[in-house]
Symmetry: D2
Subunit: 136 residues, 4 copies
């Protein structure tokens, strides 16, 4: 199952060519990711309170079709894997007809904000990963 996040491109998101700037898709990935954990009752504010951060170690983006401003899009989010101290999230941004706009992934570490050491991924995150898991 994939989590689906719906949004609309901002005027500020587009560049001189009139298309959403390549760097903005990572912002859309992030928005979708934050919305997913929030919708599952595990908002970033709670993660932060627990003293855990999930910094990105790698990201990949494949651009399929440019979009302009004021276009609706859906970000499909799913976990590709979850290990002891890291997890990989996949994304597929599609337009209202299902046409692929951009796909990619982010790999995150689970780190204690106190000492910057790796730490166990919290249980609520594991539950979300179970729910939105998808083999690649």
């Amino acid at each position: 199952m994939r989590y689906k996040y719906r949004s609309t491109t901002r005027y500020k998101d587009v560049d001189k060519m009139g298309y959403v700037h390549n760097s903005v898709y990572q912002v859309y990935f992030e928005e979708a990711r934050i919305d997913m954990v929030k919708s599952e009752g595990y908002p970033y504010s709670r993660v932060e309170e627990e003293g855990i951060i999930f910094p990105i170690s790698s990201a990949r983006l494949d651009y399929k079709k440019p979009i302009r401003y004021d276009e609706n899009f859906i970000v499909e989010v799913y976990f590709e894997y979850i290990k002891n101290f890291s997890f990989k999230i996949g994304y597929k941004i599609v337009d209202s007809t299902g046409g692929e706009i951009c796909s990619g992934y982010t790999i995150h570490a689970s780190v204690s904000a106190k000492d910057n050491n790796f730490c166990d991924i919290p249980e609520p995150m594991r539950d979300i990963a179970d729910k939105y898991s998808e083999k690649q």
Copy 2:
């Protein structure tokens, strides 16, 4: 040989954690890329006049070390390959002591702005690719 672009992180580049936001590194890649072709006498303005665009088809980023605002950095830029209608540019962002901050690449297509068809990569771009070529 690698082209070296020097810059400094902006306050606006950092996120709530105090670190440069993951999406901003693509902006640094772009700045460095634009600066490289400009320094070689082939600025984007001229590329645009020739009716050619180099949209990104894929990008990859590996985050090694977070940086804060007002930090100096250098983006090393080099061509990993250049084919008929596409090329791949590699980047390595380092701090003032040479410490790796973020590495990655962007793959670009060469496209005619008129009809959106692939087109030959212009000669000046090939010359730049020759100069800053590096086998990976």
Copy 3:
């Protein structure tokens, strides 16, 4: 009457302090403005086709209360005046309980994209200004 635009702050909108960055409110103003004319059947794409642009000559922002990411807000939009070649739009950003976050205005010129000369404000824009007019 005021036009009301509803949105939510993005993680990328907040700065190192955890608050929406001062420059982002102008982006919210813009989003609300674009949404208003679109909802009235006069989208920016049509304005552009008509060869008219509405560049901002002045802007003012009064920050009342900082907000964090993932907060819902409403931008109330209204015309303070409309003259021959310029108009002034007022904004009040409020939270879900009506608490004032940021207020301000933008003053726009009506300019022909062809020759950069002032030009008459198009009729549909005058109609929108009539509908959402408010004396200050």
Copy 4:
């Protein structure tokens, strides 16, 4: 006397029209302000350590001439006034020939980060305000 901050517009700074987006000038103001206090030996990092923040209460921008990407500009910065708990900074962005691009100001409060109460403006900030003071 005015502090002068030199920089260059980024590709990411321009919007669909090819001009620097109206919201970006506040980022330039901020960069110049941060650079000024840093050059005077009072960097933001030290201000933060002292537990003081200078949130913006009001901002004003007057746009004189649009600029494109990869243009050099200078931000002239000066204090219009400094009171017990607030100060006003003026800005004038000019191009390499002195042509005015955008002018404006920001008004800041001096606030204790601990309790969010107004607090005395630190001595180093007063010294900087003295040095770069200008009656309006």
